[in-house]
Point group: C2
Chain length 444, copies 2
């Protein structure tokens, strides 16, 4: 059986054993090993054992950098060279009501940056960026590489579906990690994220690393370490990289769904919301500008101005038009976007919002039909939750805390039974959590 498994000159079991015993693999060894794996010369089982050893013993930064390099080299890369402004990318590690892209993208484009964003659909409580955009009538995301580049040159912003040829090794490794209990490794997460950013071609990469109950990495210190590792990897690959570690102990924006998230983002762009979504979007956009060489104060002022004077909204409208969507979404999102048949509010009663089960709120939106559990599931654009309160808010007796957008009364009833466990209301005052925990690779 051994003969059938390893068809490379590498001493694979010895490399695995070294990692098992807490040692380090060299860049050359990792490159050879993973190249052989992708060529089917090393078995899934051997890589699974190596990954488990690394998850428990820890991979070094050098190993994470080498792994990223192999991942990038496994597929095609996007060439964004020769565009007129700095090429930038803003990437979130994922959260609930996390819809900053629709604000940050137009803001950065309005600031003269070139934003060519490749997204996936993925699995989760709500759809991915592509699904959310597709809730805009007519919007298409299947741009060719040439269309993507042309649109970025024209208006500074395009969002397209990533092809299967972008970092194919990451897909294969992730599928293996998913079934072998080896997802939870900072080095594996960081190399997965950064390989896609590097292959995406942008020279400036700003990461929004989420932390809290609704995030992949609940602990702020661990999230900061992940942000630092991602930044190290980016710098090692000549990308100007920085990160914001931001809170995900409650939904970021009021909307948790697909159309709902587009709608609240448009309201931020229209200056109608002064909420956490707006504040974090401005923080992320300004941090990205910093990476391009603008000082922090100027960057923030420029973003504030571009949002307040309507330039960002205008750029969003051009973006929607360029990708075939109905531009009136920028004027009256609630009129254009799909609406759920049943809408009902939930009032927890008087008190202070003391905590939220953030991940659970995402799951509840998913249960309404906003997300997908399998790759071929359809996403319902209209359903989801509006979370109208934040931790620390004092509620009156009749104040709505959540508005449910559902397909049926039965779905609403199910949600009403679940919400009291997801939004806790107490009697003592509560200090709200900070919105940003750390800045990495940026001015303090």
């Amino acid at each position: 059986m051994s003969d059938g498994r390893s068809r490379t000159s590498l001493e694979v079991p010895a490399l695995i054993a070294r990692k098992r015993d807490g040692g380090e693999l060299t860049s050359d060894e990792l490159r050879e090993l993973l190249t052989a794996y992708l060529a089917d010369e090393v078995d899934d089982a051997q890589i699974a054992a190596l990954l488990m050893a690394g998850v428990i013993r820890g991979f070094t930064d050098a190993e994470a950098i080498a792994l990223t390099e192999v991942l990038v080299a496994s597929g095609e890369t996007v060439d964004l060279s020769g565009l007129r402004g700095p090429t930038v990318d803003k990437h979130s590690t994922g959260g609930v009501g996390d819809t900053t892209t629709f604000v940050v993208g137009p803001l950065l484009a309005a600031a003269g940056c070139q934003v060519a964003k490749l997204s996936g659909r993925g699995l989760g409580h709500t759809g991915g960026t592509l699904d959310k955009l597709e809730s805009i009538p007519g919007f298409r995301v299947d741009l060719s590489a040439a269309e993507l580049r042309e649109q970025v040159e024209s208006i500074g912003l395009a969002v397209a579906a990533a092809t299967q040829d972008l970092v194919p090794a990451d897909k294969r490794l992730y599928a293996l990690r998913d079934v072998t209990g080896t997802v939870a490794s900072p080095a594996l997460i960081a190399s997965s994220v950064m390989s896609k950013k590097i292959a995406g071609g942008a020279q400036h990469v700003l990461l929004d690393v989420k932390t809290g109950d609704g995030a992949f990495v609940p602990d702020p210190a661990a999230a900061t370490e992940l942000a630092e590792l991602c930044t190290q990897i980016g710098l090692a690959h000549d990308r100007r990289t920085g990160a914001i570690v931001s809170d995900m102990s409650q939904p970021l924006g009021d909307g948790v769904g697909n159309a709902l998230e587009v709608a609240v983002a448009v309201e931020v762009l229209r200056g109608e919301r002064h909420d956490a979504l707006r504040e974090l979007s401005l923080t992320l956009a300004a941090a990205t500008l910093e990476l391009t060489g603008v000082d922090a104060t100027t960057a923030r002022q420029r973003c504030d101005t571009l949002l307040d004077d309507g330039h960002a909204l205008e750029r969003f409208r051009e973006f929607v038009v360029a990708q075939g969507g109905d531009p009136t979404v920028a004027d009256a999102p609630w009129d254009v976007l799909p609406v759920a048949p049943v809408i009902r509010t939930w009032q927890p009663g008087a008190g202070v919002v003391s905590a939220m089960a953030c991940r659970r709120l995402g799951e509840l939106a998913g249960a309404l039909g906003a997300g997908r559990q399998r790759a071929d599931d359809a996403v319902d654009a209209a359903v989801g939750l509006e979370v109208l309160v934040r931790i620390g808010d004092e509620l009156t007796a009749d104040q709505p805390a959540v508005r449910i957008h559902a397909r049926s009364d039965a779905d609403v009833e199910r949600l009403l039974a679940e919400l009291p466990a997801a939004v806790s209301v107490g009697s003592s005052p509560v200090t709200p959590p900070p919105l940003v925990y750390a800045r990495v690779g940026l001015e303090d």
Copy 2:
């Protein structure tokens, strides 16, 4: 990909993650998981990840016991019930010049025990028990289950090749461990060893756990722990189980080869050698008798007598005859067994033998042709080494330390160049290592 991997209702990634985080799997979970694996409903990669997590975090005794149970249940078991005496098995974890079976088996048969031994060929510096026996002209090891039982009923001793149907899951798991760096786990080693002993049908199992440079477990404390775990597993499966932890910092018998090992064992049976091989064989045989209910002192006296009065030799002769071998091997082994074409001695010069690279001596015998590296390699019965000295021996200037039995002068020359690094000779007195480090599950 996830869908294609796991075709069982078990939450396999969650079980793996629990082990990864240092938790324990229940017997039911382990049983379900491995049963599903053997039914190809769980992937190699998932089991490899679980094994790596267990190797690093450690498996509990309860897990080792449950694993053994699953392994035994994966195939056929030998039914030795209804035989007239106590059924016994003596098993060594493997070493260099470790040829006690040919002494202990006849001794125990002469003492009224029933010894039905199933052996493999395996890989290693010399052949396995079967290969060694086959160096006796005419000897056959392919006994059917009925022949095995009949021979044991008749003379108390039979040695046959284990079939593929005995613990097939162990073969599959071992092949996986071999290529994934997950061999070195006490629980995995113990469950592998004990599953075969339990399936072999003997009610009394005596393990000879080797320790030292030439053994699988070099550290005596770790070897003792392994012996204790094996004993726990045996007792949990209603086998009277005990263990001797014995030294493998130097070859046990003078012979390191196939015919050479048979020859020195016959010399012990003939009362012509009073060496470590004789002493350990008597210790092991007496310990096995202890497991059947004989007190330690009586057991040892009985073994001494049966060896000294020729009963054990006589039983060996009957055993050879029963399996078709030339019985004159019991009278003049060096005349009957195959002889290598070139025999030469090595004299290191005057001094005290201070240390041996025991494993290396085994490898050097293997390099002469005594072992196999691949399952289909042939074993040369005649070649090998006689190691004529032991640690602590004072050598005169011309005293031979090793006699080389080789196919050619070139092979001899190669050996002569290697031996000085394998047998160290110094000027200071050296205390020899003990022969036995520990007794487990036996009278102190």
